[in-house]
């Protein structure tokens, strides 16, 4: 399973990769290799983290055709969308990515939710909640164990809240639709 988190520096993109990777490798006992690519800028530059989760040892450390793309900026969406696997899952931040054509994808206003919760810096954790619920690459339990270890202690509660926010958003979405989120087959070129 190849996952790419992409956006701007400062959005917690790399941290997201580490959290999911840690959950998968330490608590779910799989192999997980996380790699990052970023420009020199601390914030605002294009930034992406690449996570590979597998049952066996990972040899090639980079993502080539991701199964899941999480795009938290327009630039990231445009740059990495063409590489998404044909039936891959695309998750975007509703406010930050504008799609020219509609298509099958999952969208969550993560940054807006984070701002509502009090700090835009936790937008990535909202996204992770949504991601966990949607893809089930990692278990909820593993994520809930990992998050407190991965953030400063004074922010643990806020981060868990953010995770739930994202997680619940997805489950509500399912409820409203009445079926699990279906991944629509090869229409990737449409958007």
């Amino acid at each position: 399973m190849e996952i790419r988190f992409a956006g701007f520096g400062g959005q917690g993109i790399i941290r997201s990769g580490i959290i999911v990777g840690r959950a998968a490798s330490i608590y779910d006992n799989k192999f997980a290799t996380m790699n990052q690519s970023f420009g020199p800028e601390a914030r605002g530059g294009a930034c992406s983290s690449e996570l590979i989760v597998s049952e066996s040892r990972i040899l090639y450390p980079y993502v080539t055709k991701p199964d899941v793309l999480i795009a938290m900026s327009q630039e990231a969406y445009e740059k990495f969308k063409p590489n998404l696997k044909k039936d891959g899952i695309l998750i975007i931040d509703t406010d930050l990515v504008k799609l020219k054509k509609a298509g099958k994808l999952f969208s969550i206003p993560a940054t807006r939710f984070a701002e509502e919760l009090g700090n835009r810096i936790i937008a990535n954790v909202v996204m992770l909640g949504f991601f966990t619920a949607l893809t089930k690459v990692v278990s909820v339990e593993a994520m809930k164990k990992t998050i407190p270890e991965s953030v400063p202690s004074r922010f643990v509660e806020l981060n868990l809240k953010a995770f739930d926010k994202g997680f619940n958003y997805e489950t509500e979405m399912v409820k409203s639709r009445g079926s699990p989120p279906d991944v629509d087959p090869p229409r990737a070129e449409n958007f």
């Binding site: 330490i26 192999f31 290799t33 790699n35 990052q36 020199p40 040899l59 980079y62």
Partner: protein, 414 residues
């Protein structure tokens, strides 16, 4: 001797190669880090700085890389296991004092998280282009040891190994990691201290007035003392005799600096061999490239090419004999490197015209596409005649070069 439990954070972690290397250093009993911030090695220094008070280690951020390596030399003579961490540009600045370290036979470890070069190059992306510099970068004749890890787990283990080799041979040891391994985050299992073998410094124990700082034992390595133990040491970077006094004769000591490593090479060298028994083609690789190469090797085996892997864990001293032997048996060597040819020259040298040598070059910035390595394996397997000199495999990026040659501007967006 075993590691001190206080220094070892036993457990399973999800950390990157840089942090794993810092943990390895601490586990090996390193008590001094002189560093200077440089991407992509900084995470290691940060991790060390956080842990330093806990294990009674010292972290000092010096004013530049020249300062940090000088401080490391000093700390080593004060009896501490010492370390510095850097990347290409900093490594270049350290060249003068690497020579001093070799001349003074000072044990210390340099972790070089290689990035794309030359000059400032690609700070946040990978490269393997400092390999020859490690061997030849300082002026004058000397030999060092270099080992190259391919994963965060190995960053931990090999850092311990590096310290052990440094202490055993009284020589600077380089851990030649790279940005990809350094920033790659994976599970790292740190064993209990009782399972980590740590070499202690071999101190001189004879009468004080008889001590000669550069009088070797049968392994050509002199025992050491530390400053402040009453030996009234005099050591100098000038060419010196056994007492450490400057003399005008190179043969006594300088020759030994080289032989100390060359003659002990068999004991130092470590390689990892896979499927060499029936191999017609051998992929010679090191560091992250060796990991990527496995994928190509598996694919090649699937299509019936008998290919094996020789992974250089110790890059310097170079396993001359191994290559000489293998060259007689195989059709060719495939050498993928994230540079335009460095270790491949060594492979060519040692193959003595008995096998073809094909280089899979890569300018840097990312690791090889396994397909390129596979392509090179196929090319060697097909090759009928022995060619003179290194064959350069044409990678996918060639078309860009032709684009520019035609005058049209290629797409540089990557």
């Amino acid at each position: 001797m075993k590691a001190n439990p206080r220094d070892v954070h036993t457990g399973a972690y999800y950390i990157d190669g840089d942090v794993a290397a810092a943990e390895g250093a601490l586990a090996a009993g390193c008590k001094f880090l002189g560093g200077y911030p440089i991407t992509p090695s900084t995470e290691a220094a940060e991790a060390f700085a956080r842990r330093a008070p806990e294990v009674g280690a010292i972290f000092i951020q010096m004013e530049d890389e020249l300062g940090s390596i000088s401080a490391v030399l000093g700390a080593s003579w004060a009896g501490k296991k010492a370390l510095t961490i850097t990347s290409g540009p900093g490594y270049s600045l350290m060249m003068e004092n690497i020579g001093l370290g070799a001349a003074l036979e000072t044990p210390f470890v340099i972790i070089n998280i290689q990035r794309g070069g030359p000059s400032t190059g690609l700070p946040t992306r990978t490269g393997q282009a400092d390999m020859m510099q490690t061997r030849w970068g300082s002026h004058g004749d000397y030999e060092v040891i270099a080992i190259s890890p391919d994963s965060p787990q190995e960053s931990f283990e090999f850092t311990v190994k590096a310290f052990n080799l440094a202490e055993r041979y009284r020589v600077p040891v380089m851990l030649m990691s790279d940005e990809c391994v350094g920033h790659m985050t994976e599970k790292v299992v740190i064993p209990p201290a009782s399972e980590i073998e740590v070499e202690t410094r071999r101190y001189y124990d004879g009468p004080k007035d008889k001590y000669l700082p550069f009088k070797p034992d049968k392994n050509l390595v002199p025992p050491m003392v530390k400053a402040g133990d009453g030996y009234k040491l005099y050591i100098t970077g000038l060419t010196h005799d056994e007492k450490g006094y400057p003399i005008l004769n190179q043969n006594l000591n300088t020759r030994r600096l080289v032989d100390k490593i060359r003659l002990n090479a068999d004991k130092i060298i470590e390689t990892k061999e896979e499927r060499l028994d029936d191999a017609e083609v051998i992929v010679v690789s090191y560091g992250i490239t060796s990991r990527v190469a496995i994928r190509a090797i598996e694919q090649a085996r699937k299509i019936g090419i008998k290919v094996g892997s020789l992974r250089l864990i110790t890059v310097w001293p170079f396993p001359d004999k191994k290559i000489v032997e293998l060259a007689k048996k195989v059709k060719g060597f495939v050498v993928p490197e994230i540079n335009y040819g460095q270790i491949v020259f060594e492979v060519e040298r040692c193959s003595h015209g008995n096998a073809n040598v094909i280089l899979v070059p890569h300018g840097g910035g990312s690791v090889h596409n396994p397909d390129d390595i596979l392509g090179a394996i196929k090319q060697v397997a097909r090759e009928k005649k022995r060619s003179e000199g290194i064959i350069e495999y044409k990678t996918g990026l060639e078309h860009l070069v032709f684009d520019q040659n035609k005058g049209s501007r290629p797409d540089l967006s990557g």
